[in-house]
């Protein structure tokens, strides 16, 4: 009589395991809670601002910043909730790449843009956070941290270990978000304590960032075999093969990520060039030092 082969992990399929993917909306409670906490925390910070003492321009800036922050949280929610969240965590590498781009190029910069100076100063007033933030937002450090997190988070052992459960996926997402927030401070900081780079240096900073991730993204684009177990051993829900999906992930990171950064660089450059013209006009038209200082403040706000 033939011996029955061992029944163990990988040797028995119980119909009770796993759910097939469906396009039925299934909200992720944790994502909604996080989004609510971020918006609620922001609202509390805003409440402490002396609105009655603000002039019209300041109130307008305050409103714009609130919308920017809300936009950042909305981007975070879109990237994390169904369907992008579960698809990126367990089905498609291309969706995971899209999520990364949303985190780094939409959610993080909008949240930094939307953070008022008073809120940033409150964060910097926390004794443990202040020295770490000051160090980690130095341009070279921030650049290296972002790319180190990116590369490590693309390693097959890391992906295959962390993305198989919600806690691991959450940890990866937070690593992406925090490193991205630190990255954007030298570009968008609202406080002089964490000074922004000058406009030309900001362009160079972003240019470097547009180049560095293409190296690890190339591994995805040109790999002939599936790199990630978590995306390979999952039912196909699109017409793409595992390798095609992987290649799309690499191309997306290189092309879409690069394009967005170049658009931002262009915006910074042209705004800087325009403000330089305005400054030249101010020097010619008015010799008053006080007027010049006021122009410098306005120049800082715009650029």
């Amino acid at each position: 009589m033939t011996a029955v082969l061992a029944i163990g992990a990988g040797f028995w399929c119980s119909g009770a395991l796993g759910r097939p993917w469906t396009w039925e909306y299934r909200p992720l409670l944790g994502v909604w809670v996080l989004s609510g906490l971020l918006l609620g925390g922001y609202a509390l910070l805003l409440r402490r601002e002396p609105v009655t003492l603000m002039n019209a321009d300041q109130r307008s800036l305050r409103r714009r910043r609130a919308w920017q922050f809300a936009g950042g949280v909305a981007a975070l929610w879109i990237a994390s909730d169904w369907p992008l969240g579960p698809l990126g965590a367990g089905y498609l590498a291309s969706v995971a790449a899209a999520r990364y781009l949303i985190f780094v190029l939409a959610a993080a910069p909008l949240m930094i843009l939307g953070l008022p100076a008073s809120a940033m100063r409150r964060i910097l007033a926390v004794p443990v956070l202040a020295p770490a933030v000051k160090v980690l937002t130095k341009p070279l450090v921030a650049l290296l941290v972002l790319n180190a997190v990116f590369v490590v988070s693309q390693l097959p052992p890391v992906v295959d270990t962390l993305k198989v459960n919600q806690l691991g996926s959450f940890a990866l997402d937070m690593a992406w978000l925090v490193s991205a927030l630190l990255f954007w401070v030298p570009v968008l900081s609202p406080v002089r304590e964490l000074p922004r780079l000058s406009a030309p240096l900001r362009v160079i900073y972003l240019f470097v960032q547009s180049i560095v991730p293409t190296v690890p993204a190339s591994f995805l684009t040109f790999a002939r075999d599936p790199l990630y177990k978590v995306y390979e051993l999952t039912p196909r829900i699109t017409g793409l093969s595992v390798v095609e999906d992987q290649q799309l992930a690499g191309l997306g990171m290189k092309l879409v990520g690069g394009l967005i950064l170049w658009l931002i660089m262009a915006a910074i450059f042209f705004r800087w060039a325009r403000s330089e013209e305005d400054m030249d006009g101010a020097r010619e038209g008015r010799g008053n030092l006080r007027d010049l200082e006021r122009d410098l403040e306005a120049h800082e706000l715009r650029v």
Binding site: G10, C13, L140, A148, V151, D160, P216, D225, L233, V242
Partner: protein, 232 residues
């Protein structure tokens, strides 16, 4: 004398003293981050296959008892009788038992094997692939054919009564498929063995591949399987 970090931190507006911990910290962090980037980039080139390779070099696991392809007959999706021993004689064969409503294990096994056979160079390394359906109540031959065609039109679908299918599984040394109790809407679970059995061209089960077998594992093992029995 060493400073604490608090002593090293500048007061607002003051620069840290030359050589202080705070001055060195960004450099240290930067170097650590750079090291992480370089090491990680190098690690990305590591082979994606993660199954432990046996000293024999096989990725698949040995099959205790090395069962022989049974002399039993099922029905293929065209309605023709399929004698397992006769139809697979002289051809290395992969056998898997599953069902169409399976959410993950069954389609993943089929898609992984199909993806392997699509790898350039595998045109000459092509075993016969048999899919034995373990849910004859819900899966019609036409549905089995359409499902298999999503992966590879060359895969052979086999069906029969649950008793006939279980007799084949038992002869191959596999546990029987079990149907659960139907729920109110008629849905029931089907539990079944999850490994692929690899038979050589002489009909001997040489290797088994549990769920979790990756394309790279098949890429390594299929040429070896095809070569078994050709040297005699």
């Amino acid at each position: 004398m060493s400073q604490t970090l608090d002593e090293a931190l500048p007061r607002d507006g003051a620069k840290p003293a030359p050589g202080s911990a705070v001055r060195r910290l960004p450099v240290v962090l930067g170097l650590l981050a750079l090291a992480a980037v370089l090491l990680s980039a190098a690690a990305l080139t590591v082979d994606a296959g993660d199954r432990t390779v046996a000293p024999t070099g096989w990725r698949g696991l040995p099959v205790p008892g090395a069962p022989i392809m049974p002399e039993l007959t099922l029905t293929d999706t065209a309605g023709r009788p399929f004698d397992l021993r006769a139809e697979t004689a002289g051809t290395p064969t992969l056998v898997y038992a599953g069902y169409l409503s399976c959410p993950d294990v069954c389609p993943i096994h089929m898609q992984t094997v199909a993806a392997t056979l699509d790898v350039p160079g595998f045109e000459r390394v092509r075993p016969q692939v048999l899919f034995i359906d373990t849910d004859p109540r819900r899966d019609s031959p036409e549905e089995i054919r359409a499902w298999l065609d999503r992966f590879d039109p060359g895969f052979v679908g086999l069906t029969g009564s649950l008793e006939e299918v279980n007799a084949v599984l038992e002869a191959m040394g596999l546990p029987e498929a079990v149907h659960g109790e139907p729920e109110a809407d008629g849905w029931y679970e089907v539990d079944h063995p999850a490994q692929v059995l690899a038979f050589d061209r002489e009909g001997v089960a040489r290797r088994q591949y549990p769920f979790g077998t990756r394309q790279q594992d098949w890429v390594e093992d299929l040429p070896r399987l095809m070569a078994l029995g050709t040297s005699s």
